[in-house]
Symmetry: C2
Subunit: 165 residues, 2 copies
């Protein structure tokens, strides 16, 4: 194993996301029962101008795997951020947004497009807030979505802590 490459300067504003994060969240939506989940999020890089992202969640009551996402985040301007995320149930989000503050890091993104396979549940739009606080050592997020006929509505919120020291 060689040393990790230096972070690409283009994604320096996103450096606060890098690492392994674990914690708990809560999900709800008008069409489902609320649920508590455990989560691990990993943001990594290979020296190129993007961060690789993956997460997985599990039901807190029995540890059963629940959801997963994977994708990439990048900066496209001084304060403009983009993300592309894949979901196992047959959907992909293309998101654009803004770096609201750099320290603590606050990102606000909204979907430009959400595409689904013909067999997947319909999702019309997604909004994602991401907040990384280096003093608290926390990564918090909220997800809102307009889906299955519902207007933009709160869906997920979690607060994670560094799990990589």
């Amino acid at each position: 194993m060689s040393d990790p490459p230096p972070l690409h300067p283009a994604v320096e504003p996103l450096a606060g996301l890098l690492g392994v994060w674990r914690g708990e969240g809560r999900g709800s939506y008008p069409t489902i029962d609320a649920f508590d989940y455990g989560e691990e999020v990993v943001f990594g890089h290979v020296g190129k101008p993007f961060l690789a992202y993956r997460q997985r969640t599990w039901l807190r009551r029995d540890g059963a795997p629940l959801h997963a996402e994977a994708g990439y985040w990048r900066m496209v301007d001084d304060d403009a951020v983009e993300a592309v995320l894949s979901h196992p149930f047959g959907a992909a989000e293309v998101l654009a947004g803004t770096v609201i503050t750099r320290a603590p890091l606050a990102l606000r993104l909204h979907s430009q497009q959400v595409v689904t396979t013909v067999t997947a549940k319909r999702i019309d739009a997604v909004e994602r807030d991401v907040d990384a606080n280096p003093v608290e050592g926390t990564l918090a997020y909220a997800v809102r979505m307009a889906a299955v006929g519902e207007p933009m509505t709160h869906h997920l919120a979690a607060t994670l802590r560094r799990a990589d020291g």
Copy 2:
């Protein structure tokens, strides 16, 4: 660490993809110079009805990281397969296709939709062939795409070998 969960029966037809694969490929397109690359592909699962997929490539001449993809594959009928893939440059593919043969495993997929961020290069359509041969211990694929004004044209081909024993 606990034992891995059993594979979900719904993705049993895709079992031949599971594992870590490494090898070499060659890329070309009318608008670029041909290039040779090294690649690692990982297909995993968590007992749910999908496979998690990620790959990364590097230039053979100097090992510099080149591309990466991440996403999910699932079966939606006896011989119908779907995949959702994210790309770091701001694109996502939603693919559908068919299990042509199960042993050796041969998949033929075509994009239902390709979405890109406003800053990304335009991709109109993608076709992917995937062939896993358990006797040879190989995973081979070919990618064709219609992009940046070109019609559907060969882009990538690689043959990988099991790297996880």
